[in-house]
Subunit: 352 residues, 2 copies
């Protein structure tokens, strides 16, 4: 039975277009044998678009993106310090704009140290965990304000908003992920000893949902202690569930220990399917190396695996993961390759 | 000229009393030759006290602590999961209670990889930086609340409060520290791209104060990116200044990369001298190994060096640091020593 996937592609800025080109190439190659057609529409969004038109994300953009089954995003953000972008904050306007508008309440970020990849840790052990970061609440809601701005009497507040509704749905998702994995272990990360209100909500919901998942072993770590284990014993983790800000911090750390941000994939997921989910490498637009075929497209390609999984094509997802793992295993023996050469090599591994 | 230092000692719970005993021993030994007398008063505070009396920190405790020149604290906190401590939160009540009551707006946490100490990083390089963490504002103010608690409609908020007054005084302190160091480099860590109100206050104050310190080179990192550098290139850091919560997270990570929480010292400082400052190891009370002479007193002893520095005895502080460094250098060749043996060895190095 043939199937057409309508994919909104946002190449973005800097190295975004280069890595997305490889990701789309891999997506086409891996789905060819499944009788799946990828119907891509390109969206010109990001710093370049803002500089041309003054728009970050219009209602028309949003409406048109929503007609797709999924979104693949490269990276957005202009050259740091560009005065024309001073108050624009493209990353926030666009990434958070899409995550909130499309209710991407699960921000899924796997962390694996692939064989052949060098970790900055001396003895990382076998590392293969997933961070389930909440995507639509916490300190990210934009609920802040300041009075007496610019004066010596300024007071600037930021409000972290946490709802039982919002926490429960992401916690449930995390339990499902944990239950589907071999080790079936879920770690809640928060700072319940200081953020007592948000913390007790998170802890209560985890305790309540845990009753429905008796096979999942649950534990808790304060976020500060969690960072210690990330560098001293990352093997201890299987699935982590945490709030938007803690998840932001922990997943960059996770990317660092597993060989760098060039390998870290992510999914911004609305599991209900009411909105298209968005898949993107965790890295930024790296304008300093843009347009030179220097960027590593692996994170974008691994994001394609997450996309395929989400769209109900787990076999194709697994094939991408295996091809990437194969490529990474041989990488240390190879000369430095261009962005396209890495994509081509993975396509070859897929189609051999 | 002889001098008497009135020291409030809070041994606390778990391993606290053991490590504090060594710290006091070292303090006595290092100041003996300076004609300084240490007049210690013991304060019975922590989980044990709470279980006996129901009090965490009374007004009388506070008033009496305030009559001292400085505070040395071991560690507080009962056995995790002890039902009698369920809602007590000793750490918060006592540590944060003292930090806020005594206006400890500078939380100073040095991070050094000492020669001879094994870092979990494969190639850490030379690491010697200081985190200046704000201690009296941010998400730690306890300004949160919840409605419809325990229901599916619960909303739990946490407010991060940041004032120009509070940010400026800690930023100034950080510039002073940076200016006094060889590399004269200060990194502001925040999340200005998301926490735009608090972030722009921090960024503005740093920009303004920087004008007065033309010899200090300033840069900025988002907290997520900072964690990456902590594991990939910690040598890049000299002085960091950051908010209370980011500082909490980053300093545990810093402790981890520099050989563990057993070596991490901290000062909770009120630089005005209007209140006694408090020095404590970053580690917790570790009830599982308490009373067995298994704890490493090094972090408590290094906290004594910070205390001496704060009290205007930098030579004595330097002697403690040198003795600890000597001890750490030989440590890998030695059998495992008891808590007291480590303290004794450092005293011997000091008095030789
Ligand atoms: C760019 C920024 C708004 C974003 C975030 O904080 O979520 C990024 O760091 C990420 O993790 O995707
Ligand atoms: C125990 C806790 C309240 C404390 C904090 O969060 O500040 C601790 O983690 C620390 O860093 O001293």
């Amino acid at each position: 039975m043939s199937r057409t996937i309508k994919l909104a592609v946002i190449p973005g800025d800097g190295i975004g277009p280069e890595v997305v080109a490889e990701a789309v190439k891999v997506l086409g190659a891996v789905t060819a044998r499944d009788d799946v057609t990828i119907d891509t529409s390109m969206f010109h969004l990001g710093a370049a678009r803002f500089l041309e038109t003054g728009d970050v994300l219009t209602d028309a953009d949003l409406a048109s993106i929503q007609e797709h089954d999924a979104i693949l995003l490269g990276a957005v953000g202009g050259v740091p310090g560009d005065p024309r972008l001073k108050n624009a904050n493209i990353e926030r306007g666009l990434l958070l704009g899409l995550r909130f508008a499309l209710d991407h309440y699960v921000n899924l970020r796997p962390c694996t140290i692939y064989p052949g990849v060098t970790s900055p840790l001396a003895a990382p052990g076998v590392v293969d965990f997933v961070v389930v970061r909440e995507g639509t609440e916490g300190p990210y809601v934009g609920n802040g304000g300041a009075i007496r701005r610019g004066t010596a009497q300024e007071v600037a507040n930021e409000v972290s908003v946490n709802t039982a509704y919002g926490v429960e749905r992401v916690v449930r998702y995390a339990f499902e992920v944990a239950q589907s994995r071999e080790r079936k272990r879920l770690t809640l990360v928060h700072k319940t000893n200081v953020l007592v209100f948000a913390g007790s909500l998170w802890q209560r919901i985890v305790n309540e949902v845990a009753v429905e998942y008796p096979r999942v072993a649950v534990d808790y770590l304060h976020v500060d202690a969690a960072t210690i284990f990330f560098v001293t014993n990352p093997s201890r983790f299987d699935v982590l569930v945490t709030d938007n800000l803690f998840g932001d911090i922990l997943t960059d750390l996770a990317a660092a220990i597993s060989g760098g941000i060039g390998l870290a994939a992510s999914g911004n997921i609305n599991p209900t399917g009411h909105f298209p989910s968005m898949f993107e490498p965790v890295h930024g637009s790296a304008p300093d190396i843009a347009g030179q075929q220097l960027a590593d497209p692996t994170a974008a390609i691994l994001s394609v695996a997450l996309l395929l999984d989400h769209l109900g094509l787990p076999d194709a997802a697994a094939r991408v993961n295996v091809a990437v793992a194969d490529d990474l295993r041989r990488r240390s023996t190879l000369e430095r390759r261009s962005t396209a050469e890495v994509g081509d090599a993975i396509v070859t591994l897929l189609t051999d």
